[in-house]
Amino acid sequence: MSLPPEVPPAEVGATTSAARLSGFMRGGLAVPLLTALLAFVAGGLVVLATGRNPLSTYKAIFDGSGLNWLFPWISSDDRTLAALNLQQTLIITVPLILVGLAVAIAFRGGLFNIGGQGQYTMGTIAAVFVGTRLPGAPGLVHVLLAVLAAMAAGGLWAAIAGWLRASTGANEVISTIMLNYVALWLGVYLFGLDGPLQNTTQPSVPVSADIASSARLPVFWGDPELQGLHVGIFIALAGAALAWVLLNRSVAGYQIRAVGFNPDAAEYGGISAGRQQVKAMAICGLLAGLAGALDILGWQFRLATNDIQTSQIGFLGIAVALLGRNTAVGTVFAALLFGALVNGTSVRNLDPAVFPPALAGNLTLIIQGLIVLLVSAPVIATRLLGWRGRLARGGGSP
């Protein structure tokens, strides 16, 4: 008995995106798996409409991603190729894990960080800046300095949005979008023609100088000359582990999550919502900045204005985080999925006889869009499982 369900759901804590999407965030693996499946089926229909075979297309993408390396039965020639492909997939997975976490942690704090892209860009800029300086510094020190600079740059960039939100109430969605573009144009300015950080050897090419070899991350799997897998994967996984501890086992995480679900109740518990928002955003920026550093120090070694303008890593991070239910573990697996998808559809890896890679890249975007679309409405998740009842109504009432 007691409170009749007349309290508008909007008034019972569903004031943040985190609270609104809590329907999707609950429960186990079934919802994200079904969501991904639905998106892939819809993507398959698109392929079918193009007059291609969806199954063989997905098979080719899968092979292109190198995930078949995990199968014990493939031939040794295939395995060599698969290893090369898998290295590329994992190289893409590294930043995806980190920018995914950068979206996920903000989400748990009730903030929608669309600024992963800009924070990542700031990270790459800082990493290039430090990486191209201090030639001859000891490797570990150089890498460490570059990584720290990138994390600081990303963290500060994100903290601007958090600070604006906390101090003026400025919506972080708008401010992070704006900061994305400011970062983009800043990067294009710095490395563009005539730019202060453009390389000096080729004045007609808008690209930075190469980073010093001392700043490069060691490759531990594959040929360093052929873009083997760098140790950044371990750093990204360590980042995910730390994020897990932060969210599930720490006082800071408890505070961030409390603010995310209900800022008023958090305030009542002595938690300042504003401070948590700045903190959550700054942590996210650190992670996104780290992603940028690992890409620069791990395999790109330089930054072209074109890379800055076409990079989609930060936006992929949104899909990664949402599909991973904004948990640390889920984000890692979702990052692997999207890493495989992006690499498996790349020009280099997808067999053009089965499906044209230029089309497949867009197929990835479509699948990405469908996943985010399906996640946006928790009703869909609850219907998917036929799982109605109390939580489905947004959490209020008896």
Binding site: M1, S2, P5, E6, A19, F261, N262, G269, G270, P398
Partner: protein
Amino acid sequence: MADVPALELRGVTKRFGSLVANDGVDLDLRAGEVHALLGENGAGKSTLMNVLYGLHQPDEGEVLVRGEPVRIDSPRRAIELGIGMVHQHFMLIPVMTVAENIVLADEPTRGALLDRAAARERVRELSDRYGLAVDPDAVVEDVTVGQQQRVEILRALYRGAEVLVLDEPTAVLTAQETAELFAVLRELKRRGAAVVFISHKLGEVLEVADRITVLQRGRKVATLDAADATEPELARLMVGREVLFRLDKAAARPGEALLELDDVHASDDRGLPALDGLSLTVRAGEIVGIAGVDGNGQSELVECVTGLRAPTAGAIRVGGTDVAGRGVRECLAAGVGHIPEDRHRRGLVLPFDLAENLALREYRRPPLARHGLLSPKRLRALARPRLETYDVRGGDVDTPAASLSGGNQQKVVIARELEQDPRVLVAAQPTRGLDVGAIEFVHRRLLEQRAEDRAVLLVSLELEELRSVADRLLVISDGRIVAEFGPDASDEELGLAMTSGAGAAPRHGERSEPE
């Protein structure tokens, strides 16, 4: 046709999941009468009216308008049938003008354009006819609550309402405004309208109504003529037993002053003065009740004492330490416990599980936290005995708070606060929306605190609750304590003090929860 009711409900049943909000309710409404719908909070009055207004569909039963069975599937249909509603939370657009709000959805036009002059004129006309003075060009968010209510009434009349439903219309009004409202209702009646007046205030109902229908736990228990009814009889019908319950209350033995407020001033969220030199003292072993019309500074008082709001001037001493403006953590450390007035907004993080909710006050201290890390195992270990002690049902430590009933949610809040061993407990409307059993539980806990020599400050809108639990009653009006009474004060005495405080106009924008 004079004997055909203007509106009739037959056997209306409305369920929400397992909850039966209305259970076979009959009601007939005649033109030219004020019909009061009386019931406790949660008796199903608002649900019934939402059925009538097309916001809910009844699961069983039928609605007849002037003898014809009708299906009201939307507010639009209700309006077409001549039913108008004045909601408890006003359904107005704050940024629009009075005239725009009134003509909304039935606007006078000139060509394809809105005819503002005509709208203004029609509003003037209506307000003159019914004696409801409003300024058509004022922006709604700038006018008083009383005027906003007039706008609501005018809007219903503008749309041609012959049946007017007013949901708890006096809850937000001053005595003066209430008297004016009653005059308007009598005028409406004289002009042949049928008025439904929803309330749980016996005195008002007897004053203004012609007939009274009493609801109890979703069922209709009686319809009687106001002329024959008496307050005790209505009270008995409303609560289902002679009295709510008698608390065995030993005389208070007040000890040292634990909470002292000295000339406290504070502003509300909009920066307007809310507390205006408020002083009070609560001693160990006593319960002090704060009575007052909603929106006279109660919320700000509670927030100042619990550290959620910094007073602009004055001292707040807890056991001798000044905590004014020191924030939640310091207040907590000084020994202030707080049962907030809105458990959904403040008291609980609904998606958090019960263990996490129970830790909201101590999550950062050992044993729960060490070196910044939180132990879920210890969180649960702490929560389990508390759930048991406070008889929380319907969930375990891992259950999200959202899936508990309101009464059990409130028990979680109380468990958390009392286990902090507070010296001073601030309880703000701790029984709002609870059923009788849960209310009794809360009241007993409050008395236990008194017996353990804690100081309790109880803020409530329910005079009955204040009288049965508190040892002293302080009346708050316009941000000041204007009178003090013993627990045997009469409704009249209290009501007079609550409403006659100098210029006691409740400010607009105060929230009051739907029943």
